[in-house]
């Protein structure tokens, strides 16, 4: 049963990953990437790593890919330019890819990483909490790495802001806190004056 589910998800994963680089439409490519993330999350759930799986969905599918899709949709991508070198580089690319795949299949294949080479991990009890276990090692054993990851994110924020924030001179900003405080007498001036008569005889509604 579990194996069937695994093969279903992994087939979808591999196919969608392939589709990411082969489909013509970049929006479809991004959507296939979403599908790939989603199916790999499903495979992680099969591995009893539900915290990681849900985080993958939450972070990659729910946030990163949304922004990615955003950009892809708004860009006017010229596909012909993108595909110009495709046919020319295809033989070389294929050759490299085949060598890599063959090498990996040979080295990371069942001869060294097969199921019989590693003892199956013991199934966890019903009260085992994946989230708790990750939390425990993350804040103790991997504290240094965890802090570093935080620093990297800070650098990413600083870099993103430094590279994109431009002071726009022509934009008129409104300050809501000031808007709220406005009283009618600040904006409207009521003037008392005597009625005037128009000099010309034109109709008033021309």
């Amino acid at each position: 049963m579990e194996q069937t589910i695994f093969y279903i998800f992994s087939t979808v994963l591999v196919l969608s990953a392939g589709a990411v680089i082969t489909v013509r439409n970049p929006v479809f490519a991004a959507l296939f990437l979403v599908l790939a993330f989603f199916t790999s999350a499903a495979i992680w759930i099969l591995l009893e790593a539900e915290f990681l799986a849900l985080t993958l969905v939450l972070v990659y599918v729910g946030a990163v890919m949304v922004l990615f899709l955003f950009v892809v949709m708004m860009l006017d991508i010229n596909l012909t330019v993108l595909r110009e070198g495709f046919a020319r580089y295809l033989p070389v690319g294929l050759l490299v890819a085949i060598i890599m795949v063959a090498q990996l299949a040979y080295i990371v294949g069942p001869a060294r990483f097969g199921l019989d080479k590693f003892p199956a991990p013991e199934p966890h009890g019903a009260d085992y909490s994946n989230t708790r276990e990750i939390g425990l090692v993350l804040y103790t054993e991997y504290l240094f790495a965890f802090e570093l990851a935080a620093v990297i994110l800070v650098v990413a924020i600083v870099a993103a802001i430094a590279l994109t924030l431009r002071k726009r001179v022509k934009t008129n900003f409104m300050k809501p806190e000031e808007q709220v405080l406005v009283k009618s007498k600040d904006r409207v001036r009521l003037v008392k004056m005597a009625a005037e008569k128009r000099d010309d005889q034109q109709a008033p509604n021309d």
Partner: protein, 483 residues
């Protein structure tokens, strides 16, 4: 609150310099928001103070012993301490050189210094890594800061293109590195470098192949970051496209950190596979020296020329490491440190000659420098001699030490090749000297550059001369650090 039974509170003392730099950078990041645009010199001074403070902390906490903390992810040892102090020194020099250049180009912003300091933090982490995870994170911290710094000049097409190339290729290299690391982790079952080394000893031949593939991928990733041939393509473009002040940053201190990365991963982690990685490094070293020195001859742009010269220097650095002896490692360490100092001087000269709206990055901009400023022509002469490896500058001793260590392990032919290529390389360094002394100046505006920059730059060049005359102390330091 439950904690794993094996956990004990980490000893924070060895990591105090890192913690200090992080805290100080965060303070600067916040303070910079409140500093008006024309008072950014405060940010600059705070950054220098951070580097000095870190240096003081590193020196005072230096015990000469190897301490491992944070559950095996952080190591503080003599090599790390020495390298860190030089990282602070070189970065401080870089900041001083960059100031007037950045002001003239409207780049004198807090971000430059903040990213620079985060980069320093990345280098420190990289130097002190005792675990593949920490090593990778330190590398990414450094790289991310550098990508952003290259792109900092947003309206320059060259800089943006350079940043893009750097980022894409750097990400590819990180991917390779990670893939290699995951293979090594898969077969040894540990992230800890010392444990990996121990586990590799007991692997059988079949499993050794997995570790071998992992090692190859790790080396590919590191070669990308170092800029060794055949993974050097990004380097000239990035050095050329980035604003010179940033080229100065990425071309100097990170080389020291890169040396540490190679030491930690290859020597501490995969030391037992020395025979395998030696062959790869030999090929890369020979190619780097050949490609770097020969293509540099064809360059008309000073920054590109120095970029290719960097590639050739990386080749020499690899020579020291591939020897696989402690003499080799200490000579490579010596080479990395002196190269960082020479590079700082070389790019510093370009900065000195640049002014608002003018980049002195072509070779012809150096024409007749002797008539414009005999003193700085002399300084440049020393720097070029040192890069070429002409005695009595330090470049000579660095090359000599490396070649000696190669000969020491019986690879005399490699040493001969090294000598041949450095003779070829001498041509383009000497051409700069010829331009300075025997050609008429094209541009006769007097040199700009603040007094502090002039003083430090002179000290930099004279220091290289001094180290060339008395290399003993630094060499002894490197030997002691490698142990």
């Amino acid at each position: 609150m439950t904690t794993p039974s094996s956990f004990e509170m980490p000893n924070l003392l060895p990591a105090v310099p890192e913690i200090f730099v992080l805290a100080a950078t965060c303070v600067i990041l916040l303070a910079d928001l409140f500093i008006s645009k024309d008072k950014k010199v405060i940010t600059y001074l705070m950054s220098l103070a951070t580097l000095i403070g870190a240096a003081v902390l590193t020196v005072t906490l230096h015990t000469g012993e190897t301490v491992i903390t944070f559950s095996g992810s952080f190591v503080s040892d003599p090599m790390g301490d020495v390298l860190k102090v030089f990282v602070y020194l070189v970065t401080a020099v870089v900041f001083v050189y960059s100031r007037s250049y950045l002001i003239a180009r409207n780049l004198f912003k807090g971000e430059f210094f903040i990213l620079g300091l985060f980069g320093v933090l990345g280098m420190m982490v990289l130097i002190s890594a005792h675990n593949m995870l920490t090593l990778y994170l330190g590398l990414e911290l450094l790289s991310l800061s550098m990508y952003a710094m290259v792109a900092l000049q947003r309206d320059s097409i060259n800089a943006t293109e350079a940043a893009m190339k750097y980022f894409v290729l750097g990400a590819l290299a990180s991917g390779m590195l990670l893939y290699g690391m995951s293979l090594i982790y898969g077969i040894t079952g540990s992230l800890d470098l010392a444990e990996i080394n121990a586990a590799i000893k007991s692997l059988d031949d079949s499993k050794m192949m997995v570790a071998g593939l992992g090692m190859v991928l790790v080396i590919v990733g590191m070669a990308f970051k170092l800029g060794a041939v055949p993974f050097h393509m990004w380097l000239p473009d990035v050095y050329h496209g980035a604003p010179t002040a940033i080229t100065l940053y990425i071309g100097t201190a990170p080389k020291i950190a890169a040396f540490a990365m190679v030491m930690r991963l290859l020597v501490e982690g995969l030391g037992d596979m020395h025979v395998q990685w030696q062959e790869i490094l030999i090929i890369m070293a020979v190619l780097s020296m050949a490609v770097g020195n020969i293509i540099a001859i064809a360059q008309t742009n000073m920054k590109r020329m120095l970029a290719y010269s960097t590639i050739s220097h990386v080749g020499f650095l690899l020579l020291g490491i591939l020897a696989g002896t402690s003499e080799g490692y200490s000579s490579a360490m010596f080479y990395a440190i002196t190269y960082a100092l020479m590079g700082a001087g070389g790019f510093g000269m370009i900065l000195l000659l640049s002014r608002a709206g003018f980049e002195a990055d072509r070779l012809e901009d150096f024409k007749g420098l002797n008539e414009r400023s005999p003193w700085f022509a002399l300084m440049m002469l020393i720097l070029m001699f040192s890069m070429a490896g002409v005695p009595p500058t330090v470049g000579f001793y660095a090359k000599l030490a490396v070649l000696q260590s190669v000969v020491g392990v019986g690879l005399t032919w490699l040493a001969v090749l090294g000598v041949i290529f450095s003779i070829i390389g001498a041509f383009y360094y000497l051409r700069v000297i010829k331009l300075m002394y025997f050609d008429k100046p094209v541009d006769t505006t007097p040199l700009q550059g603040s007094a502090d920059m002039r003083i430090i730059l002179s000290a930099n060049a004279l220091g290289i001369l001094y180290l060339g005359l008395m290399p003993g102390s630094l060499l002894a330091l490197c030997v002691a650090a490698i142990g």
